[in-house]
Symmetry: D2
């Protein structure tokens, strides 16, 4: 559940007996909200009003997931989901899994009939990702292997692939074997040098429709009498390299 | 099917007997590609090589849809899908439908078990949107009504709403009635004035979690020896206003 | 003088006998660098090498000026200097003066033969600005009056005007009287609401060539093996509204 | 003189006897405006009203200069002038000169007591630049040599340098010899690859304070009832690499 106090304060919590949720505006017993319909107004210990909301995917990612790596932000997650044409039922390859933000988003969109096959070299990352996916109720749609993707992919005939690795260019032939010909894939990478290396590798292999993007998000102060972008913000996360395998 | 010639030339076509596909690099008989697997290499009449690819959602939207209004671009479509937490099975309200870009994307992500309820005042727009949705094979997931949303929404208990109207602030109470409490909704609007009017209306009603965003996309020249953003591009499409109903 | 240690550490100091300059990499006696040519390499108390550099205008603004208000950043300062067509000899009107960043930049570019006439309602701001201008050696080119510009401008026949006020639209007629017909002027303002109000006032008065801009600066990590924009940064400072008086 | 008709139509012309200025809203005899003060309202042949304005530096660059190369835009020109700390009296090195946009801006700001030393390998470019500078009345402050800067610079003790060359990294040692130690210099270059090569060369030589920037300009529709950035625009011109010589 999401306890929404105001635009700066909201908290994700598990609605189980005995849990107490604290915010700097007051606290709440989970017992008191069990059974309430979504959107109910409640009172914190201090008398401050709050709301009990159904969390969105982003609420769960941003407020519930334990982070162990640099994560992929919603602005990039959503753009990649679109480029990869993820639909209910899609079978998707991912490497590395890291904290599991992208894994969760992929699992969310492929639905109960789809599957995400994740490769992650570090066991501790894989374990945290799985814990996060369980929190989101998405773990049954995900199959995580602790393995370097360059050592081989077990699957074939997949619909799309997402690579967030230090050396994505070394994984391209495995991606190609795993995907059905004509399928889309995306590399997400922070520096222009890695984009160049990826493009060079993609150009020499049998890959098509190479494209490079960057998504810049500006959040505004939501004040109708002083509308303006927030002063400080995230200027850069990474570059998105799109391609198709044949 | 998508006939991919090179990074500047690709064409969406229906693979039916007798159809001839032309590009400025040569043409092709659809008969010759019927039955070929995705990703097959073919030769155009001129000897130029091309590929037969499975179209992504964006290929269909950008190359197949007939346009009758200003459309919502993939950068915004994907960000909104994410904000609205659209999943397989979601029931979504949309107004207006216009050319049907956003309708198609919503229908794509809600899957066979979900539904999009679209309100559109102009019958000619509704007709074109339906034709476009049929082309994408998504028409059975969409229910379009030729009606001003302010005259009333038939549905209730929906999961999310998307508004792309000249006066979105006049539709807020209907949105509220149609959505389950705590559900997310988005207004997409081109000018700062409309954002302000929307925020004023949202602040006076029972709406929560107001946020305003702008997504800027930069496409790069995909050349590893001369990596740089393209010189000209789309600097602005619209502002994204997020809120939740209670 | 600017003591440059590395890309994160540099310090502006006055090279006078007895002064000691401290950095977190070591300290230096000003006495030891008196008389050294610009660009000389020196050793800090810790043995760390540093350089004695001639400060640029920005070094003085960013590292030397005491700040009492929100300041105008170099990205906006330079764009405005350009729009206003400031040249050696220009006579410029400014209101308000605030911390004096823009005042100093204007004074720098008008040279010894030009003049900046600054209006500032708050005496404490005016005093700090004057102190800052003295530090930059530019005070003799500036004439600061503690006065609300709406109460009247003493000068006439000026070449350009810069307004950084909460209500710039109320100062337009005074700006018009002070400038020679056909001269350029700029309003700098943080919110879209203020831009709208300014445009409405400009449209009703005898003003021409209205334009609105926003300058976004991205600073990159200057690493040739990992070139990428810095993760966090300034997303917004203000909008630049240009016009000409007739 | 600048003939200003409306926000989309303005024309730079020489006010000499017998000249006729045409716009798509009507024409004007230069004879009729000779002697009129700046800002005067005039009538075109069609009865449409227009204004006679004193051109700004940008009016002259953008509307008067004949272009033979890719030019440097005002957003970058102004930012570079600021980084280079150009003041009245500055002596500046430039290579290549190209169309002369940057040359003119430098000459404008160094004033009558300063000087710009321009190196340009192509004689035809040098000739056009000189013609352009004459039009702007700035040619006496500029000394253009038809020479590859790598063959040697005649000047020394200069205050700043601007490089807009395909291989700027090959000119660094000549820049170093020409500038006084501690002086600022800027490389302007379109691709990330050239930025990397420049940074590598700068890191190995005796150069300090390396910084990389990108200036993004958004122009808004100046309509107070529909304020929004223009839909299409320039997404990229070039990267700005700053350094200091010692």
């Amino acid at each position: 559940m999401l306890l929404y106090v105001d635009s700066r304060r909201s908290k994700l919590f598990k609605a189980v007996r005995g849990v107490r949720v604290s915010t700097d505006k007051g606290s709440l017993n989970a017992d008191d909200v069990l059974g309430l319909p979504w959107g109910s107004k409640v009172k914190l210990s201090t008398g401050v009003e709050a709301y009990v909301l159904k969390p969105t995917l982003n609420d769960i990612l941003m407020k519930g997931f334990r982070r162990v790596t640099q994560v992929v932000y919603p602005k990039d997650i959503s753009f990649v989901i679109n480029l990869l044409s993820i639909a209910p039922g899609s079978k998707v390859l991912e490497s590395g899994v890291g904290t599991g933000f992208m894994t969760a988003a992929l699992a969310y969109h492929v639905g109960a009939s789809g599957k995400v096959f994740g490769y992650e070299v570090r066991e501790d990352f894989a374990r945290t990702a799985l814990r996060n996916l369980r929190l989101a109720g998405l773990d049954d749609r995900v199959d995580i292997k602790v393995r370097d993707i360059r050592e081989g992919v077990d699957e074939s005939g997949l619909d799309a692939a997402f690579l967030d690795l230090p050396d994505p260019w070394e994984a391209l032939q495995e991606v190609r074997k795993a995907l059905r010909p004509s399928s889309p894939a995306v590399i997400f990478t922070p520096s222009a040098n890695q984009v160049m290396k990826s493009l060079r590798a993609l150009r020499s292999g049998p890959f098509l429709d190479l494209r490079v993007y960057e998504v810049i998000l500006r959040e505004y102060q939501a004040d109708p009498e002083a509308l303006r972008p927030r002063t400080l913000g995230v200027m850069h996360t990474g570059y998105v390299v799109f391609f198709r395998v044949v």
